[in-house]
């Protein structure tokens, strides 16, 4: 007392002053544009749409089911269904979005859209440098800007992507087996008349690639 507490405080700041020259522990600043912290796998900033293969339009996993639109807390997703259907990875005909807009000036990055999406279509991006000097045409992202290849998703969230890819591959195998069984069943009583023999050229089966990425 009578000044001893103040002197203890002085010693403490002096320790930090000296420590800042010899220990990273006492100089914690990350000098941002030059230095960057690695983001953890779970990091989530803004949503994006995953597509398979090379064509963002044909490979888009989104089926315009509008679940994300309904669940989005700040209502920043805006979907209009297209009249034309397209086949998905197991060959089933699905709806596709004509308009898929995300207003990222409203989006709060909660990740609920990615969580509720039953088609593994919407996932969370990790790009955080989103500021722009132009506020009119930059923040309402359309599906062309949102669509990112599956490889990108694998890079961001390797374990999540591995699980997704495995599940989708399994779905596909099951669907093919089912189609074969159905075809076989159909072939037994009468000549085969399969209208859709699966979409082998459409989906470039991402299984082997994924195995490499995941390991």
């Amino acid at each position: 007392m009578l000044g001893s507490g103040i002197i203890r405080g002085f010693i403490e700041t002096a320790r930090n002053f000296a420590g800042s020259y010899c220990s990273r522990e006492r100089l914690t600043t990350i000098q941002y544009p030059e230095e960057r912290l690695a983001q953890p796998e779970s990091a989530r900033i803004m949503p994006f749409l995953v597509f398979d293969g090379a064509d963002p339009k044909a490979g888009l996993r989104c089926t315009a089911c509008t679940i994300c639109e309904q669940e989005c807390p700040p209502q920043c997703i805006y979907i209009i269904k297209d009249a034309v259907k397209k086949p998905d990875h197991i060959g089933k005909m699905q709806m596709q979005p004509k308009v898929f807009d995300i207003d990222i000036s409203v989006c709060m990055g909660c990740g609920i859209c990615a969580e509720v999406c039953p088609f593994d279509s919407i996932k969370m991006d990790q790009v955080f440098e989103l500021s722009s000097g132009e506020r009119f045409n930059t923040f309402l992202l359309h599906k062309e800007q949102l669509a990112k290849p599956n490889e990108y998703f694998r890079k961001l969230h390797p374990s999540d992507a591995a699980e997704t890819d495995a599940r989708r591959a399994e779905d596909k195998i099951k669907a093919e087996a089912k189609a074969r069984a159905a075809a076989a069943a159909a072939a037994a009583p009468k000549p085969p008349s399969s209208p859709k023999p699966g979409p082998p050229p459409k989906v470039p089966a991402p299984v082997p690639e994924h195995a490499e990425v995941a390991t």
């Binding site: 007392m1 103040i6 010693i11 914690t28 796998e41 779970s42 669940e71 807390p73 709060m108 609920i112």
Partner: protein, 376 residues
């Protein structure tokens, strides 16, 4: 103020000052209409609403799930506890059980949140006292480590959106428990360092002892909760009273103050952090295996049976409660947040009367309000 009028008669006038919203200590979101006699406070009326966004109304138009990320933004320093209070209320309303591992994880993240809140509060308090941010920077240094941990777990540093009805959104990533153990082990020495800088400091004690004394009786009547209530010597900790979650399984003590002044409020928080470390050590050691979410719990389309429920937890700032009424629809019919910050600030005027302007800032700091929660 002394004004000399024509008859050279000395006249005493009161000075009315509007502290805030453009005041460095109110951060643009809070105002106090203060009537001063010299520098002594004669009257003080807090004015809120600068951050009002009617969270309750938004929640009444959104599904139960979609309100979780909004609760992150109530008390933006302690998103985890906000999540927990809300999910607890919905679990009560819909009768959802939580698996033990999820309960443990909830306790761990909540106690880490308590460490963040209390250490930052001490920093902000000293900042308001003019210590130029040094304690705040030290607190932030430690907070960063915990935020890194939260980011690895939830993907976001502050807006965690982590808990779900019936458990937690995801399991702990590999290596997380070890990271948490390291942080817990290092936090005690940090607190010693922090206290060396502050607790014995004569200036701090002169500024805080006997300032803003709150009696236990007034505190209870005014609904003051959390460390502020306990600093006034009232033993009421919802972690003990309700023993929600897994809190019944841990040995910890509740520190109580004697005089209810600013120094007691500061010290009770420091001691509470040390107790939190004990809880964390136990929880991290005994963390059970198993699922982190009730497999029967529905993520979407939750439609609880008509009825109502009030769930509350001990958030770092006090009793955070959610009062929900369901009419059987997909959205809550009534969604009410019981914000500890707003109700703790009820007695601000009682605490400040007779003190000087400089003390108002310190008292306000010791009440520990977050305007995101006060205004909602």
């Amino acid at each position: 103020m002394i004004a000399i009028d024509n008859d050279t008669e000395v006249k005493q006038e009161l000075l009315e000052v509007s502290m805030g919203p453009h005041h460095p200590s109110t951060h643009g979101v809070f105002r106090m209409n203060v009537l001063l006699d010299g520098e002594t406070v004669v009257k003080l009326k807090p004015v809120f609403g600068y951050l009002h966004r009617n969270h309750e109304k938004i929640a009444e138009t959104n599904s139960y799930l979609a309100s979780i990320p909004y609760t992150d933004r109530l008390d933006y320093i302690c998103a985890m506890t906000n999540n927990w209070a809300y999910t607890l209320s919905v679990e009560k309303l819909a009768g959802i059980a939580v698996p033990p591992r999820a309960e443990y994880i909830r306790v761990i993240v909540s106690e880490l949140t308590r460490l963040i809140n209390h250490s930052c509060l001490a920093g902000f308090l000293l900042q308001d006292m003019g210590a130029l941010g040094t304690p705040l920077m030290y607190a932030f240094r430690e907070r960063e480590k915990i935020l890194d941990l939260f980011e690895a777990l939830t993907g976001s540093r502050m807006m965690h959106n982590f808990m779900r009805f019936g458990g937690c959104r995801c399991d702990l990533p590999p290596g997380w428990v070890d990271g948490a153990k390291t942080i817990v082990a290092h936090f005690g020495p940090f607190l010693d360092e922090f206290e060396a800088l502050l607790t014995g400091n004569e200036i701090l004690r002169a500024r805080t002892e006997g300032v803003g004394v709150l009696s236990g009786a007034l505190a209870v009547s005014a609904g003051v909760t959390g460390p502020m209530l306990r600093a006034s010597g009232v033993n009421y900790d919802i972690r003990k009273v309700d023993a929600y979650g897994a809190y019944g399984k841990f040995a910890f003590r509740v520190p109580l103050g004697q005089r209810g002044d600013v120094f007691d409020r500061y010290m009770v928080r420091i001691l509470e952090m040390r107790e939190s470390l004990k809880i964390l050590e136990q929880a991290l050691r005994e963390l059970p295996d198993g699922p982190v979410i009730d497999p029967k719990a529905k993520l979407r389309n939750l439609r609880p049976k008509p009825g109502e429920a009030y769930g509350r937890i001990e958030s770092p700032k006090g009793e955070l409660g959610f009062y929900l009424i369901s009419d059987g629809g997909p959205t809550p019919y009534r969604f009410r947040v019981r914000p500890p910050s707003l109700i703790n600030v009820t007695i601000l005027e009682d605490l400040c009367l007779g003190h000087s302007v400089a003390d108002v800032v310190v008292i306000l700091g010791s009440v520990d309000i977050v305007l995101g929660e006060v205004d909602r």
